[in-house]
Symmetry: C2
Subunit: 232 residues, 2 copies
DNA sequence: CGTTGGATTGACGACCCTCAATCTGGGTGG
DNA sequence: CCACCCAGATTGAGGGTCGTCAATCCAACG
């Protein structure tokens, strides 16, 4: 139970979120403005489809997935979210969430109510906010390009390389990737069937390019993965 | 040459952009804050990959496309943008644009510099801004789901239905869709080859579901198109 | 030890990507 | 005015990949 004066100052993600540009006193001010982070366990829902939307969310630690159900009843995993990433904006269109957010692991998230945004704007978070929005759109664009890749192996390779890049920006190692995601969810997110993903993983594992376990992926030959990513 | 006091008040898109919630005096104030819209002709570049990013853009009339070139030299059409839609945020990540924006037709666009954003926040545009961001993420999500559709016919059907929905929200008819896009660009955007798209269009035209010309699409049997969209 | 859910592997068929030829319409120049 | 050209669009043939259906395997758990 750290008090509010130092909470943001001690946050491991403070260089990657709205606090990116703040100095010590700025961090204290931000801590005072915001409610304490929300703690969640694996499988906990942060919000569900149809909940009233009054805030946006920033991942502090752990990982989240968001998913939607389309008109014809199909479930789609629309994104995985790691520290420093913003999500939950879709709800602002209609005032209720259009997706469901679930913690993939022990996680924490900072909730920013819409009423608090003007205050943040004056607290030196304006540039950081735009930057987060830009990174969000960039990520969405890269995912779009990934999904128009016709071959399943290329899609997986691109996804893993993008995941490595996300981890690199957080200052983590890029040879062991943190990915607490089931095969089913990953296949769904990458736009392929569970079987197709399983085959690709088997093939690439046998070839010695990577090793996938429940929670982490080891990239053994990044160069060959990059070749795969670029070959149509 | 309308003067700044009435410019936004006369804009046909004022109910779909940042000015959404403003009354007459609010519209006057907004007109005074912003520079006049930028006029472009078909094929004109609004900005190019690598240009310095100092503003975001809102479509006032016409249509735009954005495209990126990936590391391996492939060109990808990342989006089509219609009145009331915001684009050009990716550049805020690094300070230079990561994509290129081109007018698809005679078009106009409102440019909002980052320095002007705090002023807009105080001018009653805050909720509208969040709403535009939410709509943007919603659209990105829908496109993601579209692209994970395995069959080409379903992808086209979903795209056309989403286009109809966009037009409906602008108060236009949904049986004739405005789409000033080449086959090549559309195929690229939908993640398939030119040939595959051509075949699908031929097939659906022969079946009497739709009629596609250079600039517009006629949806002749919406119900059957919806069936196609939902059938995996 | 049996059950259960997730993951893997196999066989088959449909769809799409690739390569290639043909067709169409608009613009230019002789 | 017509022949030519060129880019975009259409159509065709063949092969590879993935989706589907189904059986099997595996580990965790009661």
């Amino acid at each position: 139970m750290t008090d509010s004066r130092s909470r943001c100052g001690e946050c491991p993600t403070r260089r990657f979120c709205l606090a990116r540009d703040l100095d010590a006193s700025g961090l204290d001010r931000l801590s005072a403005l915001l409610a304490p982070p929300i703690q969640l366990s694996r499988g906990d829902y942060l919000y569900r489809f149809g909940d009233r939307t009054s805030a946006l969310h920033l991942v502090r630690s752990g990982a989240f997935k968001t998913l939607t159900v389309t008109a014809d009843g199909e479930e789609h995993v629309t994104g995985f979210h790691f520290p420093g990433e913003i999500f939950g904006l879709t709800g602002f269109t209609t005032g209720v969430h259009e997706d469901t957010a679930m913690a993939l692991d022990t996680s924490s998230v900072c909730r920013v109510h819409v009423d608090e945004l003007p205050g943040l704007w004056g607290a030196g978070c304006d540039v950081a906010f735009l930057r987060l929005l830009g990174e969000k759109e960039s990520a969405a664009t890269r995912l779009r390009i990934l999904l128009s890749e016709p071959r399943a192996a290329s899609r997986l390779a691109v996804f893993l390389l993008q995941l490595a890049e996300r981890q690199r920006r957080l200052g983590r190692t890029t040879d062991v990737l943190y990915l607490p995601v089931s095969r089913t969810d990953l296949a769904n997110h990458l736009g392929m069937t569970l079987e197709a993903l399983s085959r690709v993983i088997s093939r690439l594992s046998r070839a010695g390019l990577l090793a996938m376990e429940r929670m982490e992926v080891r990239v053994l030959r990044q160069a060959e993965l990059e070749t795969l990513a670029g070959s149509r």
